[in-house]
């Protein structure tokens, strides 16, 4: 192919006069010819660029772009539903009845190592009222974890039931909540227990629900 012919084709090309077959010829020439005059080197890049572009394929992963989006949404929905369900199954029984045994356990535990929150609360709230009611009795000293203090507290509670009842009743729900929170703190791995030792907890739940 002589240089003049190619130059003619190039001129026609840039005037927009070339036919498709002439453009094919140009593309072929620039693809096959390695050694070119300097002024044509840029055109080689141009025509190879066009040829490269025409082989571009829609990426396979992108073909399923829509489906991917859809699956992502479905996955998100499922996971949120699962977490909500999980929350309900753990929270519902624990706030109502099921933690009672746990609260009892923590109270026993506290009596060994310290006072439960409710006991502390009762004592602090009770003190001024008690002094008003009966001043003859010696003032009680609150000693942290000695069993005798708890015994003393129990006996006082029975004797002063009339006075105590109103306070106790008003504080009862709060105490319960606090006990539950306390219990939950100690049993923060309860859900794991529930998961890995289902036989331990299921009978308890069933019993409580039947009542």
């Amino acid at each position: 192919m002589n240089k003049k012919h190619i130059q003619d084709l190039l001129d026609k090309y840039f005037e927009g006069d070339s036919s498709l077959s002439e453009e094919m010829e140009l593309k072929e020439f620039f693809r096959k010819t390695a050694i070119l005059p300097n002024e044509w080197k840029a055109y080689k890049n141009l025509f190879t660029y066009f040829e490269n572009e025409s082989t571009k394929k829609m990426p396979a992963s992108k073909q399923a772009h829509h489906q991917k989006k859809l699956w992502w949404i479905i996955g998100l929905g499922l996971s949120t539903a699962a977490t909500i369900l999980l929350l309900f199954t753990i929270q519902l029984p624990s706030t109502q009845k099921e933690l009672h045994p746990l609260a009892v356990i923590t109270k026993q535990h506290d009596s060994m190592y310290g006072k439960s929150v409710s006991q502390k609360k009762l004592e602090t709230k009770k003190q001024p009222k008690k002094e008003e009611a009966e001043k003859g009795k010696p003032t009680r000293t609150i000693v942290g974890d000695h069993p005798s203090t708890i015994l003393a507290y129990e006996s006082e509670k029975t004797s002063n039931r009339n006075i105590d009842n109103t306070i106790k009743n008003s504080l009862a729900p709060l105490d319960k909540m606090e006990d539950i929170n306390h219990a939950l703190q100690k049993f923060k791995y309860f859900d794991l227990m529930n998961k890995y030792l289902p036989n331990l907890t299921i009978p308890v739940i069933k019993e409580e629900r039947l009542k």
């Binding site: 090309y13 840039f14 005037e15 927009g16 498709l20 453009e23 094919m24 840029a42 890049n45 141009l46 190879t48 660029y49 066009f50 490269n52 572009e53 025409s54 571009k56 394929k57 829609m58 990426p59 992108k62 073909q63 772009h65 829509h66």
Partner: protein, 171 residues
């Protein structure tokens, strides 16, 4: 038949990619057009040129996408949008020269870009291109000519700058 389907879908994808400069958006548009064509496949034989029809659909969808993107980002100036660096990571476009050519073509006005793409990349006749853009054949030729000359100018400018930079370096 299936091969033709795939290659044609790639053609739609390439046109969308040329106009949108984002392979995700381009794939979405191509897929949309493909589905719409599939839904109306009974009508296709009646059309004068099904390919031109599909390209028109693709182009219109792309223009819609660009418009909504511009409204969203308040990119009022199309030049500004076009001058944004393209984010192609295709290995074929690694080298600086073809990057520059890519940039030169994508800096063209939308009509010129569509015409030069359909002609020089996809190899369509001017009559088909004119039908796609709903313009006269003569008009298509004028646009093509301008597009090619703009690209040549950009390339020659780039070369000149390169040479100047080089000579400045050696001096």
């Amino acid at each position: 038949m299936e091969i033709w389907q795939n290659t044609f879908r790639d053609k739609l994808y390439r046109l969308a990619l040329r106009l949108l400069n984002s392979s995700d958006d381009a794939a979405d548009v191509a897929q949309d057009v493909w589905l719409k064509l599939w839904q109306r496949k009974e009508e296709i034989p009646k059309l004068k040129s099904a390919e031109a029809f599909a390209f028109t659909m693709t182009r219109n969808l792309c223009l819609d996408v660009l418009k909504s993107a511009r409204l969203k980002n308040e990119r009022l100036d199309q030049k500004h949008e076009n001058s944004l660096k393209s984010t192609t990571t295709d290995p074929l476009e690694r080298n600086e020269q073809s990057q520059m050519i890519h940039q030169a073509i994508n800096n063209l006005a939308e009509q010129q870009r569509t015409v030069i793409h359909l002609r020089d990349v996809e190899g369509y006749e001017l009559s088909e291109i004119a039908e796609t853009l709903n313009i006269s054949e003569n008009n298509a030729k004028v646009i093509l000519c301008r597009a090619r000359q703009n690209v040549r100018e950009a390339i020659l400018n780039f070369e000149r700058h390169e040479q100047e930079a080089y000579s400045g370096f050696t001096r």
